[in-house]
């Protein structure tokens, strides 16, 4: 029997989600800690959104609130999909509001997979995909990506991984944690593969407003005909610094969305009117705040890249998102050993790469969700530690 090197076995990651929470808890013991782990922007929700929400919520505390979300919000989401993603979605039948992006991810996976179904997942990937697929009794089939290729999702490798049991293809762009962006050409090839093999595309667009170096984001469902077999998720969390509000959405064709609606209703009923009116205030307001955050993240990315260059660590150049995935194999440590060491000795929280795929246990994820001076300080602490050892 031969093994196809581009069809990796669904090995369990080396590090569980619980371990990441353990690191976060440990970090809280250090008053001088710098947290570059979790993807929670340091920015508070912009004041104009809070003010608009506060005004709206005075008039409403209860209203018909179906599991798919209040209609004005679904209309606003449809407008955002049209304007930003070039996706046409009927707010009546093709959008379901969720309790945040992670909830959207979980619901989407449960709706798309039956037990035993295979889903192609580019590695590295956000750790919750593993948990959601396992919950659905699906089979995660890893499609490796490589730092030498800036973590490009190669359509040829995806094609090699397809079997008669394959039902889904996950497309996360910009990717978390690798920060790679799927090019228009690759999106076209991947969506064509999905069409030819009758796969449902699960598109995660959560970082679609954060791209660098002039790159473009291409939503798979924006291509002609692709919407018919694509579920797209997004949320207000990252783009408006609204992580705590827990408001996301899934968009897709009506024939897939009825199942999404049923699953969402079964898991959590309706979404809080607080979150929905917060999102409505954000989506109906100006986008200046997003531009400001884009500019800040671009500057921060430079700070982290320069720091890593000084440390001699290689990394995939972040094309989008809010993090850098860096190779620490030169230290001789596993990712968890390195993260624990840096946390204990430098009081800097990083996420170990093993949490994003077993093959990435010699990487760390660094978020740039702190001010530039804090990022510089964190990298300086790590440099002192590495030079000392």
């Amino acid at each position: 029997m031969t093994t196809n090197p581009d069809r990796a076995q669904p090995a369990a990651p080396a590090i569980s989600t619980a371990t990441l929470y353990g690191l976060m808890a440990k970090a809280r013991a250090y008053d001088d800690r710098i947290e570059l782990g979790r993807g929670d922007p340091d920015f508070d929700t912009p004041p104009h959104i809070v003010a608009a929400f506060a005004e709206a919520i005075k008039r409403v505390w209860s209203e018909p609130n179906p599991p798919e979300g209040i209609l004005p919000l679904r209309v606003a989401i449809a407008e955002r999909l049209r304007r930003v993603n070039r996706i046409e979605a009927d707010p009546e039948t093709e959008i379901v509001v969720t309790n945040g992006g992670q909830h959207a991810l979980f619901v989407m996976v449960q709706a798309a997979l039956a037990p035993g179904d295979e889903i192609l997942v580019p590695d590295p990937n956000y750790n919750t995909y593993r948990d959601a697929i396992a919950f659905a009794h699906g089979v995660r089939v890893s499609v490796p990506t490589h730092i030498e290729e800036d973590f490009r999702v190669d359509p040829a490798r995806v094609a090699a991984a397809i079997t008669p049991r394959t039902r889904g293809l996950l497309m996360v762009s910009p990717n978390n944690p690798a920060a790679s962006v799927i090019s228009r050409g690759d999106v076209q090839e991947l969506t064509e593969l999905a069409r030819a093999h009758h796969l449902t595309i699960l598109a995660d667009d959560i970082y679609d407003r954060f791209l660098y170096d002039g790159l473009e984001h291409v939503s798979p469902a924006s291509l002609p005909g692709v919407k018919d077999y694509t579920l797209t998720l997004n949320a207000v969390s990252k783009q408006y610094a609204m992580c705590g509000w827990r408001l996301g959405w899934i968009a897709g064709p009506a024939h897939l969305m009825e199942r999404v609606r049923q699953i969402k209703a079964s898991i959590s009923g309706s979404t809080s009117l607080v979150a929905q009116h917060g999102a409505l205030a954000a989506l109906n307001g100006p986008d200046d705040c997003i531009v400001e955050m884009q500019q800040a993240y671009a500057r921060r990315r430079e700070v982290v890249m320069q720091g890593l260059d000084r440390l001699g660590l290689r990394y995939g150049r972040p094309q989008g998102g809010q993090f850098i995935f860096a190779d620490i194999s030169s230290t001789g440590m596993t990712s968890l050993e390195f993260a624990a060491w840096v946390l204990e000795e430098a009081h800097v929280l990083l996420y170990p790469g093993g949490a994003f795929g077993a093959a990435f246990d010699h990487f760390i994820r660094i978020t740039f969700l702190q001010p530039e001076e804090r990022l510089a300080e964190a990298l300086e602490r790590i440099a002192r530690l590495m030079n000392k050892s």
């Binding site: 209860s62 919950f135 009794h137 827990r246 898991i267 309706s270 009117l273």
Partner: protein, 353 residues
Amino acid sequence: MTHTSSSPIESAARAYGWSPITDYPPFYMPAEIREGMIQALARGETHYAPVPGVPALREALARYLATLGWRLKADGNTVITNGEQEARFLAIQALCRDGKILALPAQAHPGVAQAAGVGQVQTISMPGSQDGSPEPDIAAILTALERGADVLYLESPHRLTGKAFEADELAAIAAAIEAADARVIWDQSLASLVRPDRRYVSPGAIAALAARCLALAALWPTLGMEEYQLGYIAGDEALIQPIQTLRQIIGICTTTPAQWAAVAGAEHMANLLQERLTELTLTQEQGLAFLQQARVTPLDGDTVAYLAFRAPWPRGASLLAELTQVGFLVASGEPFGAPDVVRLTTTSRLLAL
């Protein structure tokens, strides 16, 4: 779970600013709750909350649960959820994955079967009581345990009739659960709405049961916060731990500003709950008198929230229209598995009778 009501009810809701939700008696939400939330936003409470919930809210929850007889710590024993349906889903899935068998009442809140329907939870059904009422009795519970149930789902007070288990029934359930080494998920959403002349016995007050029980409900009763979608799960630390893990996976945490609204609400609940219980008691008496005039005999129930009755009833559909006009919120028993039962939720409008 929201059951949208018929158009007269929705009209009333619009006219009076009442909640259209029939699961709970509708009340105005005190302005201080909204103000508390806005103040929290102003100080930057817009980020992820801790997975189990904002500590101040869990402290308030632990104090509230103590009034129901539970002795639980905020930290380690409680999880705040995005509404009661999410609480149902988390409790069922955390206890019943890995081949465990869940016994469900044949007649229960429709959200129970929905929550168990995701994934591959094995279920068996517990029929209603031998006397014909919708709630399972101790015989039905024992039969379910004999059939191999690992986990029971119970509602007390029942979500269709408001009937609560008596003290001797709880003692029998506790003994049966202990003997079978089973666990219980206990919907106690209506616990604080039990009529003042009835005594509610909480599973938290019986040590053998409390150690094997996860309690769940919506937050907070009678404060008009239903659509802020807050719920909780509480219980022994060993049972709560897998809930926290699954809670993180399905959505990280519960809406932070809504949790701060509930923190503000907790300060008002002790006073308002008593006031509103008194009001509901009065309105329910009015409603009972109306039903007697209409020659309708309610099913046995223990809360001020509901009156339920079974078909056939006089005047058929015209009576239902009349009931909505006078101020009841009317729900069909069909989604609960009891198509011949009608549930009436009491409202302040009944005072006009």
